[in-house]
Amino acid sequence: MSAFDRYLHAVLVRATHEAHEDGSATTDAHHLLLSLAADQGSTAQRVLAAAGLDRAAVRAALDREFEHSLSVVGVSAAAYDLPRPSRGDRQPKLGASARLALERSFATARKKDLRSSHLLLGVLEAQVGTVPRALALAGIDRAELADRVRQALDSPDQ
């Protein structure tokens, strides 16, 4: 098992945990982003943090996207005051958006060259969906952020 395999495994475990906490049946691309933002010490996490995106900021951006997308059809999640449901032990499955993000990541480099930054790039390259909408609402320039990730990849300490 390579260092990257171990890193990928840890990212997926954390993303699955985020999905479970969300009560989501699937681990989605935005759960990968939460996981990448929470990882301490990786290049992906450093680039995100430099853009003001620690885990809490990503969570806030996602919550805002959720509220905003609902408001477009006149719905407010805050209008429902049901108790927080108990979470079961069922493990979320890898969802379509997370699968696409991983495929994009793996397409950017040879397997032995894969780094945390490639995972982040795979998530950031989605043109549509929850992640780009959340980042746009948070005032983040996604293309510029992706450029910074690529610059970090090219720097010698990688």
Binding site: G23, S24, A25, E65, F66, S69, L70, S71, V72, V73, G74, V75, A77, Y80, L82, P83, R84, P85, S86, R87, G88, D89, R90, V128, G129, T130, R133
Partner: protein, 81 residues
């Protein structure tokens, strides 16, 4: 230009995102509402009929979670068939 003023969003991205968000909200509501009903003593057939899905579907989706949470579930014998 706000889509909130119009019941039908003009931007397809907004409309599609609303669908995705509504599904997530519906899932969250279902988890909370089914748990609330079962804690209030509803039976699986009642909950499934109220949701408009089969008893098998609602049982498969929620039983393990509610048992793990210690919710007292109504026995099979008490249910309407």
């Amino acid at each position: 230009m706000s889509g909130a003023e119009n019941p039908l969003p003009h931007d397809p991205a907004d409309a599609l995102a609303a669908v995705a968000a509504l599904r997530r909200l519906a899932d969250q509501l279902e988890d909370a509402a089914v748990e609330q009903a079962m804690r209030a003593g509803w039976s699986w057939p009642q909950v499934s009929e109220a949701l408009g899905v089969t008893r098998q579907a609602v049982h498969k989706k929620h039983a393990k979670r509610l048992i793990a949470a210690g919710v007292q579930l109504r026995r099979r014998g008490n249910e309407r068939v």
